[in-house]
């Protein structure tokens, strides 16, 4: 079991691990060359923990290949409302994230790293941590970014560091090509960097002791909803949905479905054995996203819950692209009308039409994520949507 597992214990006291405690637990920052770090990461099979699950070594290589000096951005914006793991990690073990940023910078030939956070506690924790490391050869700074859903989208993050608003930009060029100040920029989620810091110390083989061949290592998940002990847990990649719920104190009510992956995620009903990892969830057309599991109790209306999430995503649009501004508002409105029993079959037909028109047409993937989520809701709660068309709501039902 990886060391991040202990973060939970520290949040109870609200104390971050000091640099001395961090040093005692993990030892000094390893003196590895950039190539060695990349090679070890390659062997570790680490994938990004921010949501896209992109192979970390591949991303590092792409940034290294740039001709200009690169930069590192640690992404701790965590805009997902159902995710708490990055805030927790930054509050509990900030030095592990700073170590990861320093090592990543070394790996891509950067001289500086920017740690981006969106809330006060994380900001203070990182500031305190940086103050404890005055002798660091790497220039590491912390930046406060907007606390919105799209703020952590990588081009939006780079845009903010360049002095712009928290809105995505038209890509390519992608941040790894032209990012902060026009330089090749490595944007990595803070949990990914914490794993990187451990892989650099303990090695790829150590990392691969947990998880599956396809998805090695451990991952932080935020389990919430109808469970007895909602919170952040570290699990081996590939842990079943059932075991994750058990870890969170078990279910606190009869359950009808799970939302896996957050607002861009997928509803899953019945399949409690589904492995929580990139490849396991691909089979369901889903993803683990930023490691989010929400348990939906029986008797709660899935149509209503889904409509609320689509409305949230519509309101969180950066407001730049027509298909996102008008499209998401349209599907949100139709979903709300269905949820409140004010719509007929036509609303379902309109949603189908718009869910075909919208995807792939924004500057970022915000509209795509919203459509994927709604499609999954229509699939899993089809019966409920149809009941709503008939003016009924029969949410109460046993777990399939």
């Amino acid at each position: 079991m990886s060391e991040i597992a202990r973060v939970r214990a520290y949040t109870r006291t609200g104390e971050a691990l000091s640099h001395a405690e961090h040093f005692e637990r993990y030892g000094p920052l390893p003196e590895l060359q950039g190539d060695t770090i990349v090679a070890e990461l390659e062997r570790s099979g680490l994938r990004g923990r921010g949501g896209a699950a992109f192979p970390t070594a591949t991303k590092l290589r792409a940034v290294r290949a740039g001709r200009r000096r690169s930069l590192v951005v640690a992404n701790g914006a965590e805009g997902e409302p159902a995710s708490a793991k990055d805030k927790l990690l930054l509050s509990a073990t900030p030095h592990l994230v700073v170590d990861g940023a320093v090592l990543a910078a070394r790996a891509v030939g950067a001289r500086s790293a920017a740690i981006c956070v969106a809330d006060d506690a994380a900001l203070r924790s990182v500031q305190d941590a940086l103050a404890e490391r005055p002798g660091d050869p790497m220039d590491v700074n912390v930046f406060r970014v907007a606390n919105t859903y799209v703020s952590g989208e990588e081009s939006a993050l780079v845009h903010q560091l360049n002095g712009g608003p928290a809105k995505p930009t038209f890509v390519p060029p992608r941040p790894f090509q032209r990012g902060v100040r026009g330089r090749p920029t490595l944007v990595q989620n803070v949990e990914t960097l914490a794993h990187l810091a451990q892989i650099a110390r303990f090695g790829a083989d150590w990392f691969r002791e947990c998880g599956t061949d396809h998805d090695p290592g451990t991952t932080l998940v935020t389990v919430s909803g109808a469970v007895n002990a909602p919170g952040v847990y570290e699990v081996d990649c590939g842990t079943s949905l059932r075991d994750a719920v058990a870890l969170a104190g078990g279910q606190s009510a009869r359950l009808q479905a799970f939302l896996v992956g957050g607002c861009f995620g997928t509803w899953i009903r019945g399949a409690v054995d589904v492995p929580l990892c990139h490849s396991g969830l691909q089979a369901f057309g889903g993803s683990l996203g930023a490691g989010i599991v929400v348990a939906l109790a029986d008797g709660v209306c899935g149509v209503d819950q889904s409509a609320q999430i689509v409305r949230y995503l519509a309101d969180e649009s950066a407001g730049q692209c027509g298909p996102c501004v008008y499209g998401l508002d349209a599907i949100a409105r139709a979903s709300e009308d269905l949820a409140t029993g004010r719509a007929n079959e036509a609303a379902l037909a309109w949603i189908d039409r718009w869910c075909t028109q919208i995807p792939g047409r924004g500057a970022c993937h915000h509209p795509d994520g919203a459509v994927r989520f709604l499609r999954s809701a229509l699939d899993v709660f089809r019966h409920d949507f149809e009941a709503h068309v008939d003016g009924r709501c029969d949410a109460a039902r046993a777990m399939a």
């Binding site: 730049q320 027509g322 298909p323 008008y326 499209g327 039409r353 047409r361």
Partner: protein
């Protein structure tokens, strides 16, 4: 080498001229924003595609040249 039409959705303000000038590859969604055929622009439409790009008031229509593997000739 192939040419593809791409729209910068941030710049696009749904004037709709592109769909008028290049209806073979561009249609409009329910709000007037272009839906573009992602495939290569056929040779006989290249001039029309250039005209559509030039006519866009917000310069949101882009023609991109992509290096691609030439599809094998069918027999």
């Amino acid at each position: 080498m192939s040419v593809h039409v791409r729209v910068n959705p941030i710049a696009c303000e749904a004037h709709g001229l592109c769909a008028e000038l290049l209806p073979e590859l561009i249609t409009l969604d329910d709000w007037g924003y272009p839906i573009v055929d992602p495939g290569p622009v056929p040779a006989h439409l290249i001039d029309h595609a250039r005209r559509a790009a030039a006519a866009c008031p917000t310069l949101a229509v882009l023609l991109e040249e992509r290096l691609g593997v030439r599809p094998e000739r069918s027999r």
